[in-house]
């Protein structure tokens, strides 16, 4: 080994005797333990690894450690000198500019380098300086604000009271801005071995494994090569109890390129050095089922034996006589929509470790759903659920993609078999090639209207490509027909769907479960019919908006909280002005054209027609400390803060009084998964009930009436009831395993009913509604689209925390914009973050949020959900705006420049 490389990190001298070509990211993280610097791609594309070298921002993943010899390196850990947050760190917190927090260290370092030169940067200067860092959660606007105003001067710190309805900065932000929060790849036992999966390069093939003796001889650092035969329990997993169709390690047969075949376990250098072609795998390649068309063709090869038509699931909603409606229609419009795979592109690739603790297995990994993970791991390792402990790490974005297991079964099996801790961190290309995507879709839909311009019928069919494995395919097949007609009164409805297997990347859950794809269709139809009738698109939607008392396509009466009309009204003034402005601008000629579009959506909160309870507990310790035990996982959306606000309100204490334990399946109760926009509504309600239950127990103990005042003190609780006062000495009470003397529990399962064969019933307890408008500018010569502004009106029932709600809306809009304009995952071709494009700082326009609060009586303090609703209307609004600008409505997304150009050319509208 060469002489040690000496440099300064955060003003501390260090000397590292490591290979000089080692990436600085690895030197910082693995050799120096400074895991605040994150790795999202190792390729310069995400900027999560941004550090300062001699004051300049660089990607640590592109810097050989040799090149920082003699230099000063500053990482996020160096920002909060002496424990006090730097102004930019505080601003990130204050402006809600960190959600999951995985991009935050990179943002902070890029921001710090800017602020060192420029104390009052403009928005454009911030965008230029931070443009090399990607964020998938926030939509960037809050970050721009935070950097612009970081040095504005003294700001009063948040008071930490945070009653429901206040914009309390997130309670878990401190560790996100200091780099202290541990994400999946950040910690593992020192003696952990590394696991690397060897994946199929073929979309469909049979294979035979030879002996690994030679490999072991060549690589002494190789501890084990795991194959399907090593899986102790069932070698299969999947979301649905009756469809466990995906193997942990393939058994002689692969169904998509990227499927895990064997797992190498050993020291890091060894598993990285072994080339895939050194493995004794004899492939027999077969022609893949490469598309939905091929899958549905008569005589198609089967992706799964026993699925005779390659159809995984079908969905159907039918109400009224659709054929009669079309036969009698005065107007009929028809649309097709095509969408591709969309990648979640969370900045944190999947990572974690497992260790065997006696006869239990512990998995410490990023996830959206600890309790489902627990049950899957139990099956795969062949244990009871009680023998599995899931300890979620910080999760650097999920958006549905971390609802499926990834590294967890691999490391669990390896740790179980080898009796040693085993860790695994996916590379970016591996994450993209192997984990689930948004379902590609192709949709045909029709609308009928009578002579008075009233919609009388709606017909819809969508094929959704579920890829090689089921994952959440049945959910998509169920959810789509229910939402297909949009948030409108449509008369007779027939909507059907199919989830179709192919030999491509599995599609799973992604913010909206197929509804964003369906919304492209219903909104295109609404625009087309409005145009046919020469009606204003916004007014036409208002005419048909679902309102309180209306009955949905599944026959459910909306008795409460149906705020679509209020959302549309909230846009009306901007809409009228923006449409007029666009018209005036377009009158001036030239290649540029402006347009304004509107998109609406509705979204059922929680699982479809299925029980999906949450249980929450809040404990009071002997010392008088309150702890909320929350199984609801915060993957950036803010549930830690929201649960605490709700529970604190129910208890009548400030938020700061609550300590938080989240996710650990040994310490919390099952609060279901962080998906379907259900946490605020379902788990939030449970948190409210838990708070009320704790109070009730204390009152009972004190023999006090329901209106008594409870004051929590050190080691004691004072209860005042109509002049009498009682003090409970907590130190004299029995404690449970958590050290608590009182525990309140709340459970909530939103009321739904099963759907009949025609999809009739009440699939959800409540629905969110929204309308967004987008203003765009199209360059008709180049086919490029720039989104100039978005106004988003959302009926959230009640905004428990407006700062977090706005954050969700911004982030959803950014993803909707990506879906509309640039994101397209092509298996084997766009498997990194420079070929797969997500919006950057310069792509997300200013966003204005209008919150509509039409309270939902079932929800906590009237709240519903926002996570998925935020994304759904954006792409339709942008497409409507493109149509308004150019007269051309793209049927397929993403609307890449060359595609729009071809459409304009075909319509004779290129300038």
């Amino acid at each position: 080994m060469t002489a040690p490389i000496r440099f300064h990190v955060n003003d501390r001298p260090v000397a590292l005797a490591v290979p000089p070509a080692r990436r600085l990211t690895r030197a910082l993280r693995d050799d120096l333990g400074l895991t605040g610097t994150k790795v999202g791609c190792d390729a310069g594309d995400c900027g999560a690894c941004t550090v300062l070298v001699n004051g300049r921002q660089v990607c640590a993943c592109l810097t050989p450690v040799a090149q920082v010899a003699g230099a000063r390196v500053t990482t996020v850990e160096g920002l909060a000198a002496n424990g006090a947050l730097a102004p930019l760190q505080a601003a990130i917190q204050r402006f809600g500019a960190a959600q999951c927090g995985i991009c935050t260290p990179g943002m902070l370092m890029a921001g710090a380098s800017l602020l060192a030169r420029n104390v009052r940067p403009s928005a454009a200067e911030v965008e230029d300086a931070l443009g090399g860092v990607l964020c998938r959660c926030t939509g960037y606007r809050a970050i721009v604000q935070a950097v612009m105003h970081a040095l504005d001067g003294a700001v009063a710190p948040a008071d930490g009271l945070g009653p429901v309805g206040t914009a309390l900065p997130r309670v878990d932000c401190h560790d996100k801005v200091t780099g202290r929060e541990a994400f999946g790849a950040d910690r593992a036992p020192a003696d952990a071995l590394w696991l690397r999966a060897v994946r199929s390069p073929h979309a469909r093939a049979r294979f035979a494994l030879g002996s690994f003796g030679a490999l072991h001889a060549r690589y002494p650092g190789l501890a084990r090569v795991l194959t399907a035969a090593d899986v102790p329990g069932a070698n299969s997993f999947g979301i649905y109890p009756h469809i466990k169709d995906q193997p942990v390690l393939a058994e002689g047969h692969v169904r998509f390129a990227g499927e895990a075949v064997v797992a190498l376990v050993g020291d890091l250098a060894t598993v990285e050095a072994i080339r895939d072609d050194e493995l004794p795998i004899a492939w027999t390649v077969e022609p893949p089922v490469a598309s939905v068309d091929e899958a549905l063709a008569p005589g198609a090869a089967l992706v799964h034996d026993g699925r005779a038509d390659n159809v995984l699931a079908r969905g159907r909603v039918a109400r009224g006589n659709v054929d009669a409606a079309f036969a009698a229609a005065a107007h009929v419009v028809e649309m097709t929509v095509a969408t591709g795979f969309v990648e979640h592109a969370y900045i944190e690739p999947e990572a974690g470790y497992a260790r065997r603790v006696g006869n239990r297995i512990e998995v410490v990994a990023c996830t959206q759903t600890p309790y489902m993970d627990r049950d899957e791991i139990a099956r795969v390792v062949g244990l009871g659920p009680e023998a599995v402990r899931i300890v979620p790490t910080g999760t650097g974005g999920g958006f549905g993609g971390k609802l499926d297991i990834s590294v967890q079964p691999l490391v669990a099996v390896a740790a179980w078999v080898l009796g040693r801790p085993v860790r695994c961190t996916y590379t970016r290309p591996e994450s993209m090639a192997s984990t689930t995507k948004r379902h590609p879709s192709r949709i045909t839909a029709r609308l009928a209207a009578d002579g008075a311009g009233r919609i009388t019928g709606f017909a819809f069919h969508g094929d959704f490509e579920t890829g090689a494995y089921a994952s959440w395919g049945p959910t998509v097949a169920d959810r789509v027909p229910i939402h297909a007609c949009g948030p409108y009164r449509m008369g007779a409805v027939r909507a059907t769907s199919a989830a179709v297997y192919t030999n491509r990347t599995p599609a799973g859950a992604f913010r909206g479960f197929g509804v964003p794809q369906a919304a492209l269709a219903h909104e295109a139809l609404m625009d087309a019919l409005a145009a046919r009738l020469a009606r204003d698109p916004l007014a036409f939607r208002l005419d048909h908006a679902l309102r309180k008392g209306d009955v949905t396509a599944t026959g459910q009466r909306l008795d409460h909280s149906a705020g679509l009309a209020a959302c549309l009204e909230a846009l009306r003034e901007d809409w009228t002005r923006a449409r007029a402005d666009a018209q005036a601008f377009n009158g001036t000629g030239g290649a540029m054209r402006r347009g304004v579009g509107v998109g609406c959506m509705w979204y059922g909160i929680g699982n479809t027609s299925m029980s999906n309870p949450s249980t929450m507990r809040v404990g009071l310790s002997r010392e008088g400390g309150l702890t909320l035990y929350s199984g609801a996982l915060d993957v950036g959306q803010g549930s830690n803060t929201v649960m605490a606000q709700i529970c604190a309100e129910a208890l009548g204490v400030p938020v700061v009084a609550l300590a938080l334990v989240t996710g650990d399946t040994d310490r919390t109760a099952d609060a279901g998964k962080t998906s379907a926009s259900r946490q605020t509504f379902v788990s939030g309600k449970a948190a409210e009930l838990a708070g009320r239950d704790l109070r009730a127990r204390i009152l009972r103990h004190a023999n006090a009436g329901a209106s008594a005042l409870v004051e929590f003190g050190r080691g004691a609780v004072a209860v005042r009831d109509r002049g009498t006062a009682r003090t409970i000495d907590l130190r004299r009470l029995e404690t449970d395993i958590n050290g608590d003397v009182f525990v309140g529990e709340g459970r909530f399962d939103p009321p739904t009913t099963r759907l009949d064969a025609d999809g009739q019933g009440s699939p959800y307890a409540t629905y969110a509604f929204a309308a967004q408008m987008a203003e765009v500018e199209v360059d008709r010569a180049l086919g490029t689209v720039k989104v100039r502004r978005i106004v988003a009106a959302h009926d959230v029932g009640r905004a428990i925390n407006p700062l977090l709600v706005e954050g969700q809306i911004h982030g959803g809009i950014a993803q909707g914009l990506g879906l509309a304009l640039m994101e397209e995952f092509l298996p084997g071709r766009t498997t990194n973050l420079h070929d797969y494009l997500i919006p950057t700082f310069g792509d997300v326009p200013p966003i204005e949020v209008r919150l509509i609060e039409d309270p939902e009586p079932l929800g906590p303090f009237g709240a519903k959900g926002i996570g998925e609703p935020a994304l759904i209307p954006t792409a339709p609004a942008i497409l409507g705006a493109i149509e308004h600008a150019t007269g051309v409505r793209p049927a397929a997304v993403p609307v890449l420049p060359h595609r729009l150009h071809a459409l304009l050319r075909a319509a004779g509208k290129v300038r």
């Binding site: 060469t2 290979p19 000089p20 070509a21 791609c41 190792d42 390729a43 310069g44 594309d45 900027g47 941004t50 300049r56 921002q57 660089v58 990607c59 592109l62 810097t63 050989p64 040799a66 090149q67 890029a110 380098s113 965008e127 230029d128 300086a129 931070l130 443009g131 090399g132 860092v133 990607l134 690397r196 250098a269 990285e272 050095a273 970016r428 290309p429 591996e430 010569a781 180049l782 086919g783 490029t784 304009l821 640039m822 397209e824 092509l826 766009t830 990194n832 420079h834 070929d835 494009l837 919006p839 950057t840 310069g842 792509d843 890449l896 420049p897 060359h898 150009h901 071809a902 290129v910």
Partner: protein
């Protein structure tokens, strides 16, 4: 076992290269992305510490840009207006993190069809200085880049500098890049253009180069010939026609179809010329 050399003297570096073939590493911004998730056993020659290889100096007839000069160095250097186009290109290479480390030499040697530096420097008539242990030679940039990731560099040579001639007083240059998003974008098409003033408000010499359209960036000689002698004015771009781009072997890929690239390139050429001549 892999070796890693980081000499401070150019002669030393060239001797090491004469010994055996080594992977040259400058800013690493192309090097590391090609090595994600794998440990590569290779001998590395790190040129980042070589004295005199970084920085821009004025010479008798122009400028000499050291091979390890970064994009940020270009942006911060005190250079005349003929470098406006190169500066615009520099600002568009990756994000600031990449501009701070990525070098011009690396950009040329990596020879990606989408390398922004190549058309920008072609439109300046740049020459590449290649050096081995025995001596140096200069090749015009057009002759240096041979294909997609192929150059005229032999394994025992380093690129040591890029030479840019001083163009006529009043020369204007520009660079336009088309991509599907705002930052961190690989070009679908980029155009670099240079107009040297001629007599009486006319175009003297024009240079127009197109990148990302074909495996190697190309100068549009036919168009340049047509432009010479035309009056400067805001509609100069109208002189550009599809036939001037006819012999581009246009790329067809996920970022853009070949037909689109041809049309977009023509639009960008016209806009670039209009802007320069206005």
């Amino acid at each position: 076992m892999a070796s890693y050399e980081r000499p401070t003297e150019l002669d030393h570096a060239l001797r090491l290269l004469a010994e055996r073939s080594r992977v040259v590493l400058a800013g690493g911004t192309d090097h590391f992305p090609a090595r994600v998730g794998t440990a590569v056993d290779e001998d590395v020659l790190d040129v980042s510490a070589i004295a005199g290889l970084r920085g821009i100096v004025a010479t008798r007839d122009g400028w000499c840009i050291g091979a390890t000069t970064t994009w940020t160095d270009v942006l911060e250097a005190d250079l005349p207006a003929q470098f406006d186009g190169l500066r615009q290109a520099a600002r568009e290479v990756g994000g600031v993190q990449v501009q701070n480390r990525g070098t011009l030499g690396g950009n040329l040697c990596n020879a990606s069809p989408a390398a922004d530096g190549i058309p920008a420097l072609m439109a300046l008539d740049a020459e590449v200085e290649l050096r081995d242990a025995k001596g140096a030679l200069r090749v015009p940039l057009d002759n240096f880049v041979l294909g997609n990731r192929r150059t005229a560099r032999r394994p025992d040579q380093l690129v040591t500098a890029i030479h840019v001639p001083r163009l006529a007083e009043g020369t204007r240059t520009t660079f336009l890049k088309l991509g599907a998003r705002r930052y961190l974008v690989i070009s679908i098409v980029m155009v670099a253009a240079t107009l040297e003033p001629g007599a009486g408000g006319t175009v003297g010499r024009a240079r127009v180069a197109i990148g990302a359209c074909s495996p190697v960036a190309r100068r549009l000689g036919a168009l340049e010939a047509v432009l010479a002698g035309r009056p400067m004015g805001p509609d100069l771009g109208a002189a550009a026609e599809a036939l001037h781009l006819a012999d581009l072997a246009t790329i067809d890929d996920v970022r853009g179809s070949a037909a689109y690239r041809r049309e977009a390139a023509l639009i960008l050429v016209r806009r670039a010329l209009d802007r320069l001549a206005a």
